[in-house]
């Protein structure tokens, strides 16, 4: 199967006025129809930048400096701005983290949904309204007819995120990029949203890039996973491979840091008490180590890790890690 979206060796730099600093350095991702790719990593690793670069919405002073992005065979980096506008909201759309602020507070729900339909599908406003209503039904908003006239502030957080999803799905895009779509929501609502996304994906065969910092969400949603660290994709593979047998010490670190909920009998199991730690923090832009970027925080790092750039190591077909010691002991002290 061909990927619908392919990001190859993407490099993004930011012009700080004095120099151009690397934000993303060789990120490669593949997104298949009907599948979900989870992109994980700590804050500041470049997850959002990857998404924005794909959408062609990088902020001022950020620019793609290398690599390629292909959407259904079309080279997005070579496309004209007008062509990109045609694709945005149409062939690829995006869901943002804060449903509170991502909807325009002064426009009705109807306007915000129909706008994208009228723009891309050249529908009349009556038709667009019908489609909008259909979308609201699809995202399971109760009383969709009444909600059309509502303003975002009249909706709860979960409803707003549903509206965002309706907007994103309105033109039946090939790709949806969801940048931490549930971080601002309560857990019970998060569960509802995830279920909704999965249901819709099954109906439409849309490919989803799910950006998150939560390995639990990855486990819940993703088919494939890419782990980003400091602008590099340090590990990628299927979700079973990565969560089941993480190859990169960073991935393993993340796993051990995450507190697990122990229910039932396991709740009183004293062994599970310990919580792993990754010391230090993600280096800020411009302070990336030269060789392995994770080396300063890595318990396994030796001299080589600090001097030489690690190779891509393929542990299994489709499962690769950017590390000198990918298979070293699983337990991180």
């Amino acid at each position: 199967m061909d990927p619908v979206l392919e990001v190859k060796d993407l490099k993004v730099g930011v012009d700080t006025g004095k120099s151009v600093q690397s934000v993303l350095d060789g990120v490669s991702l593949r997104l298949f129809p009907g599948k979900t790719l989870g992109v994980v990593g700590e804050s500041g690793c470049g997850k959002s930048m990857t998404a924005l670069a794909t959408m062609g919405l990088l902020p001022d002073r950020f620019a793609v400096t290398g690599g390629s992005i292909t959407l259904a065979g079309e080279d997005l980096l070579a496309a004209k701005p007008s062509r990109l506008r045609q694709l945005r909201g149409n062939a690829m759309s995006m869901i943002f983290q804060e449903p509170m602020t991502a909807l325009n507070p002064v426009l009705t729900v109807e306007r915000q949904i129909t706008e994208v339909i009228e723009l891309h599908q050249k529908k009349s406003s009556a038709e667009a309204r019908e489609i909008a209503l259909e979308m609201l039904r699809a995202v399971q908003i109760p009383g969709p007819e009444d909600r059309l006239a509502a303003y975002p502030h009249e909706l709860s957080g979960g409803m707003r995120q549903r509206v965002m999803i309706a907007i994103a799905l309105a033109c039946r895009p090939k790709v949806i990029i969801a940048d931490e779509p549930t971080t601002a929501l309560d857990v019970t609502v998060q569960a509802q949203i995830f279920r909704l996304l999965r249901d819709l994906q099954m109906q439409t065969d849309t490919a989803i890039m799910l950006i998150t910092h939560d390995l639990g969400a990855v486990a819940e949603m993703a088919d494939d996973v890419a782990v980003l660290y400091a602008g590099k994709c340090v590990e990628s593979g299927t979700v079973e491979a990565i969560l089941g047998a993480p190859a990169h010490p960073y991935t393993r670190g993340l796993m051990s840091c995450t507190p697990r909920l122990r229910l039932g009998a396991a709740a009183n199991d004293p062994q599970a008490e310990g919580l792993g730690e990754i010391p230090g923090m993600v280096p800020p832009l411009g302070r990336f180590p030269k060789a392995c970027r994770f080396a300063p925080r890595c318990a396994l790092a030796d001299d080589r890790c600090h001097t030489d750039t690690p190779p891509t190591y393929e542990t299994a077909p489709g499962h690769s890690a950017l590390c000198w010691k990918p298979t070293a002991e699983k337990a991180v002290a």
């Binding site: 700590e42 910092h213 819940e220 840091c257 909920l261 009998a265 709740a267």
Partner: protein, 329 residues
């Protein structure tokens, strides 16, 4: 043993400009023994932070009592309140806004000592150095400004500031939810270690069940201004009895476990507004087990032994829709 903190029927209401009232905390009762850590979990808007602020007397309760050792927190005011503030300190959620950007790190930690005149003036600087070391910061960092620290380091500063007065009680309002998992783990480990070393007492607020389970000895589940279930940690996670607690547990995601994906128990809807909360069971509107009784009669908080209290008419009668709990039930 007399508990360190004893809260009875605490209520905090906020009047709105429109004339309505937000029932942010609506009758909460609990007590915490010295050396324990009492966790409060619940969704956004359930009144966790308001409870914390009421404990710290940052907002004024409209009813109820709060007894910290021999002091009645709810009746103190002005100077007397100020003079006992050293007994209780707080760690806030957002490490970025909880440090005054104009104070150097050292000053920030020292400020409570100066303001409350604790300890000999000369010894204060040493005390600050010691606090820095205890939270894992180098004392040289005292002269830096908050913006020169990372989020995790700032949270360490906040913890140092909270501990410098040797408080009997520390209220932590989601101290790690603004942090990345890796940093979160560091801070959780720090808090835990400090508690063990100093026999600190925590009231620990979080929306993350896993975190609460990790840190706390007792847990209360809060919904719309009320505690719907509270119990010692082990007991709660082994045998939760309230449907809302179940829904929180079901919604928690784990990287190890993909089996439940797609088939988990979810409740519908979102919490109603605390402006006009339902008169009877507040969770009834979202509860798959709700009956007419739930919609008309307010469930009492019933004790199931060992301090396990549940506010549900059918507590103990329902089968949990979670396989793990069902196994132990």
């Amino acid at each position: 043993m007399k508990p360190l903190l004893d809260v009875r029927d605490l209520k905090v209401h906020f009047p709105l400009a429109s004339g309505q009232t937000v029932h942010a905390v609506d009758g909460v009762t609990f007590s915490v023994n010295e050396g324990d850590s009492f966790g409060i979990v619940g969704e956004s808007g359930s009144g966790k932070s308001t409870t914390a602020q009421a404990l710290m007397r940052l907002v004024d309760p409209v009813a109820g009592t709060m007894q910290l050792e021999k002091h009645d927190l709810s009746s103190l005011d002005g100077e007397p309140l100020r003079t006992i503030r050293h007994m209780m300190q707080m760690v806030f959620q957002d490490p970025y806004s909880s440090l005054n950007p104009r104070l150097r790190a050292g000053q920030a930690v020292r400020e409570p000592l100066d303001l409350m005149g604790l300890g000999p003036v000369r010894g204060r600087e040493n005390r600050v150095d010691e606090m820095f070391r205890q939270v894992g910061l180098h004392p040289d960092a005292k002269r830096l400004f908050p913006h020169q620290f990372s989020g995790g380091q700032r949270q360490r500063l906040c913890i140092a500031r909270a501990m410098v007065t040797e408080p009997r009680l520390i209220v932590c309002d989601e101290p790690v939810s603004a942090l990345d998992v890796a940093i979160q783990a560091q801070i959780l480990n720090l808090l835990k270690r400090l508690q063990k070393d100093k026999r600190l007492t925590y009231v620990f607020i979080s929306h993350d069940l896993a975190v609460v389970q990790h840190i706390c000895t007792h847990v209360a589940v809060m919904y719309l201004g009320e505690f719907v279930e509270q119990a010692p940690t082990g007991q709660l996670f082994a045998a939760a009895k309230h449907p809302y607690t179940w829904s929180l547990m079901a919604a928690a995601l784990s990287p190890d476990d993909r089996s439940r994906a797609g088939a988990r128990f979810t409740v519908t809807g979102e919490p109603p507004s605390p402006i006009n909360p339902p008169k009877a069971c507040r969770f009834a509107g979202r509860c798959p087990f709700a009956t007419d009784r739930c919609r008309t009669e307010k469930p009492a908080l019933r004790d199931f032994g060992n301090g396990h209290r549940v506010a549900c008419h059918y507590a103990g009668e329902l089968t949990p829709p979670l396989p793990e709990l069902a196994a132990t039930a």
